[in-house]
């Protein structure tokens, strides 16, 4: 069988692209960080260091979640094992692919999907650009980790990567800075409803489907954010929640607000919470989880030894964090609280 010239050329192009793809995948592997500590912003990567199938509640979100929801708080109070997989600018596209990876090691009963990523995107990018960029990042690790060549040395290039690092705070990052804002109403009614961009919505539905396939229940949660959240966005998410039959808990709304005091509870003037705010949100969300879902108390159980030891470390460092944030907020309290 003899091939025509154009067929030969087409074959050659395909072969070249295959070789290139193999090289891209191989190079992507070598550019992955040496430790799971640096896989993602904040401490999201620590989830890979958790013991197999120990996490019952998985929180997914962006920086608002990473600074707003402290799962160790729940373990301490109820023995609920949770992890906040969240990092700055994480999009719904990112979250979908990360959730796929997390399901390989964990089987959470409840997935808490934070809603901020439904609307946030970098102003320098169009929706199409950020979608294409994020999805390409997920499919080709080389693109996501390309800048790591700066940390490669001849010594660490071929050593086994160590992905066993564990985060005591389970993905939460305690912030002790205080930069308040006046307690003004930012959830006033303009009558508007901001619809979720088409492709983002599509990926949120894929996330719901993925959770359904793994028998996880989904809860939509909005972390308090005076900057970046409003009633129009709430209405958009509420419509999505109703459409897809999932419960939605917006901590910005008056009836569910855990008592956020914006003069003391934010680290940067209303965008992100500090530990004072995060404690309130985590309390409220913990109560809700305990009340609405059948979640086991794992404290002291076999197989949860690392959780118990991490809980001890968490309790040990808590007083200092609390004291620092209170000092910054100008709150004088006795050591007992």
């Amino acid at each position: 069988m003899s091939l025509r010239t154009w067929q030969k050329n087409a074959l050659r192009i395909v072969a070249f692209l295959l070789v290139l793809l193999m090289l891209v995948l191989a190079a992507g592997h070598y550019l992955m960080p040496q430790s799971n500590r640096y896989l993602e912003g904040y401490t999201a990567g620590g989830i890979l260091g958790e013991d197999f199938d120990t996490i019952d509640v998985l929180v997914l979100g962006d920086s608002n979640a990473a600074q707003g929801i402290a799962p160790m708080h729940w373990y301490d109070a109820y023995g609920i094992t949770g992890y906040t997989y969240a990092a700055g600018w994480l999009s719904m596209y990112n979250i979908y692919y990360r959730l796929q990876q997390i399901y390989e090691e964990q089987n959470p009963k409840v997935v808490v999907l934070c809603t901020a990523p439904a609307y946030t995107k970098k102003s320098s990018e169009s929706y199409m650009q950020s979608a294409l960029g994020d999805i390409a990042d997920e499919l080709l690790p080389l693109l996501r980790f390309h800048d790591n060549w700066k940390y490669l040395t001849p010594e660490n290039l071929f050593t086994q990567k160590d992905y066993s690092w564990r985060d005591v705070n389970k993905g939460y990052t305690p912030i002790t800075d205080v930069a308040g804002r006046p307690n003004l109403d930012y959830m006033y009614d303009t009558g508007a409803s901001e619809s979720i961009p088409f492709l983002v919505k599509f990926y949120m539905q894929r996330i719901l489907q993925l959770c359904a396939d793994h028998d996880s229940e989904v809860l939509l949660v909005t972390v308090p954010a005076a900057v970046g959240w409003n009633l129009a966005r709430h209405n958009g998410i509420a419509a999505f929640a109703e459409e897809n039959g999932v419960p939605y808990l917006d901590f910005n709304m008056a009836d569910t607000n855990p008592g956020i005091d914006w003069t003391t509870d934010t680290a940067d003037g209303g965008t992100h919470l500090n530990w004072l705010g995060a404690r309130k949100v985590s309390d409220a969300l913990g109560d809700y989880l305990q009340e609405h879902y059948d979640l086991a108390d794992h404290r002291g159980q076999a197989g949860y030894e690392t959780w118990d030891s991490d809980a001890q470390s968490y309790r040990d460092m808590l007083p200092e964090i609390t004291q620092r944030v209170q000092e910054n907020a100008g709150i004088v309290q006795d050591a007992q609280s």
Binding site: F16, L20, L23, A27, W89, Q129, A136, K150
Partner: protein, 522 residues
């Protein structure tokens, strides 16, 4: 949809190429025109109407010019001598009138959409000096993408038809395709109708070799843009946008990096443009020829943005020089200042006009006037000091043939060009002067501004690679040709290496700012 964006490279270009290659030969221009209009509409939206109008005017006038010329050729030779002369004059006047209408329309479009805000501000500044209290409102609108490029190309088409060096296009879509052809509509080069129309209107068969060469050239352009230009941009932006904070070494490094950035970016963009056109078998004009091997600033401008210099030389400088008023001005100068000065003054007047045009083409603002004047002054100084230099150093003509003296000339030109770049990038004429003055103050802070040591290494190595490639080109070696003769594993290794280099060392992602093409805004 920028030339280095994912949608352009991975969706638009392959689809256009497939449509172009699969269509029967006579419908291939339709694929090009469709792709061009879609591309322009995606970039400019409603402003596309200006492009359509400019093309319509150009086409109609070109056609009319052609008809007139045919009529002249058919009737005039049969007439007797005096009538012939009169008829010829009438035809010439008619043709000149048509060209004038075209130039007025196209230039009006360019001035109206690009320079009006600047002119209004200038007028207001003058009006405030008068006790009348009048002010005009400064219009604010965005100039359509590629305006400075397609209007000049349209003018060159009319001039060429008028001069008889080219035949006019019969159909509107042909002129529209010429002006809107997507590879050159955003950042040039200024292509001539006679050069591109044969392959645009009568496309060659899809050629695997042309295709691969084109793709290779696009890859090379991507390397320049993503690895070098966008990385250098971080440093340059930090220093030039906040110039009062920096001095001495930091300004020197920022200026050098800006020169590197602009060269890598503009010539890289041209590589992507010419590469894309090559895939479709269209030979666009080269815009760069190893500019940093130039031995004088005028030599530099014959190697940098070649097609702009050529356009202005051919359609502004030379016609002005041989125009009647200029000849009269020359005569007047000769009676006033004597033969030698009388001969050179008109030439210098023409050169001044040309340099100012080069400056102002880049944008409306005093900064660009200063930029043009800077190069005019350099050229003029070089010329007037020449006799004195020859007297001081009689060995100069011999030295000029020596290698060491040529290296000195290149180094000197490089420094002068960098000073020009400093002016060009600074935030206004005053900032330029302050930055020049700040060169004398030492800079105490760290020179690692926005970039770390690894980034500077990449830039340094990148600059050396550019230099090496330019050196090979200067010696007349075609890299793609010689590479194509190598065995397949080596070739693939080079291409894969290039693509991996773009992906790994490209300055994209969360740690870098995305940077738009600089020349797309001129």
């Amino acid at each position: 949809m920028a030339y280095n964006s994912f949608p352009y490279l991975c969706i638009f270009l392959p689809l256009c190429w497939a449509a172009w290659a699969l269509l029967p030969q006579r419908y291939r221009p339709a694929a090009l025109l469709g792709g061009s209009l879609l591309f322009y509409w995606l970039m400019a939206g409603g402003y596309t109407v200006w492009l359509l109008l400019a093309a319509a005017l150009t086409w109609a006038l070109g056609l009319a010019l052609g008809r007139l010329q045919d009529l002249q050729a058919a009737t005039v030779p049969g007439l007797e001598k005096t009538a012939r002369k009169a008829a010829k004059q009438q035809f010439t006047a008619l043709q000149k009138g048509m060209v004038a209408v075209g130039v007025a329309g196209l230039l009006g479009l360019l001035v109206g959409l690009k320079y009006l805000p600047f002119l209004a501000r200038f007028l207001n500044a003058l009006l405030t000096r008068l006790p009348l209290g009048w002010q005009v409102t400064v219009p604010s609108f965005v100039q359509p993408v590629g305006l400075s490029f397609f209007t000049l190309m349209a003018m060159s088409y009319l001039f060429d038809v008028r001069r008889g060096t080219t035949r006019p296009a019969a159909h509107y879509w042909q002129v529209l395709l010429y002006l809107s052809f997507w590879p050159h509509v955003v950042e040039g080069p200024f292509d001539r109708w006679a050069q591109v129309s044969p392959t645009l209107l009568d496309p060659p068969k899809p050629d695997y070799r042309a295709f691969t060469f084109g793709v290779q050239r696009i890859l090379w352009g991507m390397m320049k843009k993503l690895i070098i230009a966008d990385r250098a941009n971080m440093y340059v932006k930090a220093v030039f946008d906040d110039w009062t904070k920096y001095s001495g070494g930091a300004v020197v490094v920022a200026t050098l990096l800006y020169t590197l950035q602009l060269y890598a970016e503009f010539s890289g963009c041209m590589d992507m443009v010419l590469g894309a056109a090559q895939c479709f078998g269209v030979p666009l004009a080269e815009n760069f020829r190893q500019p940093f091997f130039a031995r004088s600033v005028s030599d530099f401008w014959r190697r940098w943005h070649i097609t702009l210099g050529a356009w202005l030389r051919e359609y502004l400088f030379q016609p002005v020089i041989v125009s009647k008023p200029m000849m009269q001005f020359g005569k007047w100068c000769r009676t006033r200042f004597g033969a030698a000065l009388g001969r050179s003054l008109p030439v210098w007047a023409g050169l001044l006009l040309t340099w100012l045009a080069i400056g102002i083409w880049h944008g409306a603002g005093w900064l660009y006037v200063v930029y043009g004047l800077y190069y005019f002054l350099l050229q003029w100084l070089g010329e007037v000091t020449e006799p004195a230099l020859l007297r001081l150093c009689p060995a100069l003509p011999q030295w000029r043939t020596r290698r060491w003296y040529r290296l000195w000339q290149m180094a000197r030109t490089f420094v002068l060009v960098n000073l020009g770049m400093l002016i060009f990038r600074s935030n206004g004429a005053r900032a330029a002067l302050e930055m020049l003055a700040s060169l004398r103050r030492p800079y105490a802070g760290s020179l690692l501004i926005k970039l770390d040591v690894q980034d500077l290494w990449v830039l340094g190595i990148g600059a050396l690679v550019l230099l090496g490639v330019d050196l090979l080109h200067e010696r007349g070696i075609s890299i793609r040709e010689s590479l194509a003769r190598k065995p397949l594993p080596l070739r693939w290794a080079v291409y894969c290496g290039g693509m991996l280099a773009v992906m790994i060392f490209g300055a994209y992602g969360d740690n870098y700012d995305p940077a738009a093409f600089i020349y797309a805004q001129f």
